[in-house]
Symmetry: C2
Subunit: 209 residues, 2 copies
Amino acid sequence: MKFGFLVFPDLEELDLIGPWEMVGMWGKLFGGPESRLIVAQSHDPILCARGLSLNPHTSFEQCPQLDFLLVPGGEGTRKEVDNPLLVRFVSEQAKHCSAVLSVCTGTFLLHKAGLLSGKKATTHWNSLARLKELGDVTVVEERVVRDGNIWSSSGVSAGIDLALAFIAEIAGEKTAAKVQFGSEYYPSEKRYGTLHESPMAPAYLKKRV
Amino acid sequence: MKFGFLVFPDLEELDLIGPWEMVGMWGKLFGGPESRLIVAQSHDPILCARGLSLNPHTSFEQCPQLDFLLVPGGEGTRKEVDNPLLVRFVSEQAKHCSAVLSVCTGTFLLHKAGLLSGKKATTHWNSLARLKELGDVTVVEERVVRDGNIWSSSGVSAGIDLALAFIAEIAGEKTAAKVQFGSEYYPSEKRYGTLHESPMAPAYLKKRV
């Protein structure tokens, strides 16, 4: 199996590396995808939103057909929705992918690639209104949303939850448990301050408070 | 303020990028460290444990005195404890750092640099016994441990909790809240399978079950 991770300038680092870590552990230790590829328009280094520089494994042109494709979000998505090469890469790959996943504002790239029309999806709380404005997406304020073979998550750190839910679906709960234990993903439930109670907070969070 | 992130071959990606994201958001949006540097022995690309290739910002030789230094873990730490250049970099920087932080098995690098003798610290559940065997560290099975200006966390994903706790300490609860909200770090509390109840599970997790 081949799992691709799309990258582009000004992506949000944790959007990418949260799922990358989970899928990497699954692939390297617990029978998951043996090929995990970071794919960009070219082989040049990618400068991420918080200043990390990373090196793609392959380019759009050289990338093999993937089984799974994950699209992170970040400020860069606002520019990349107007990049026809990137949008076409996503839509062409998606035709033969078993699943396409997005984190945070990566959802807007899936939409531009024509993957979300008439579907349920989510995004970062600060972009929910913008996603609703697109008109043809049923916006669901959950942390992880699945509609058929399209998966999406809320903002930044939610990609970790997305990846574990996806692994549980594809490889079973016991495999997801091994990845969760291996990555010691039993987060503190600490809430700092009161922003999680603000009117901007997504519905899934308000429900939990 | 200058916040350094040590990197070396076969580090575990999320150990680094979890805190990198939190500190990056703090620095870029909410008044945190304006300089955030990824530091390696040389400027060559670093190949991480799950296959990510990243580019350091600076080398040990060219790195300015840091205010804060974070040391991630991963398989690579087993080799790097015997790298005198890296160990010396950590111990020399630590002399004038306000705080030194480690994630996962990064704790063993702090120990080798002489920073943990007589101190409380923690590491990944699978390395707790090895940390205890060192003899001069009081091993505490909490998710985040602070002893004076030395902070450590349990495995991989725990670096996110570490970073938020650190930001709350340095910049206050309201700033930590902004970073938590911005990164939408309100993780699912889902436990896959039963490994979190296994005898190997760290004490903090057993307490929560």
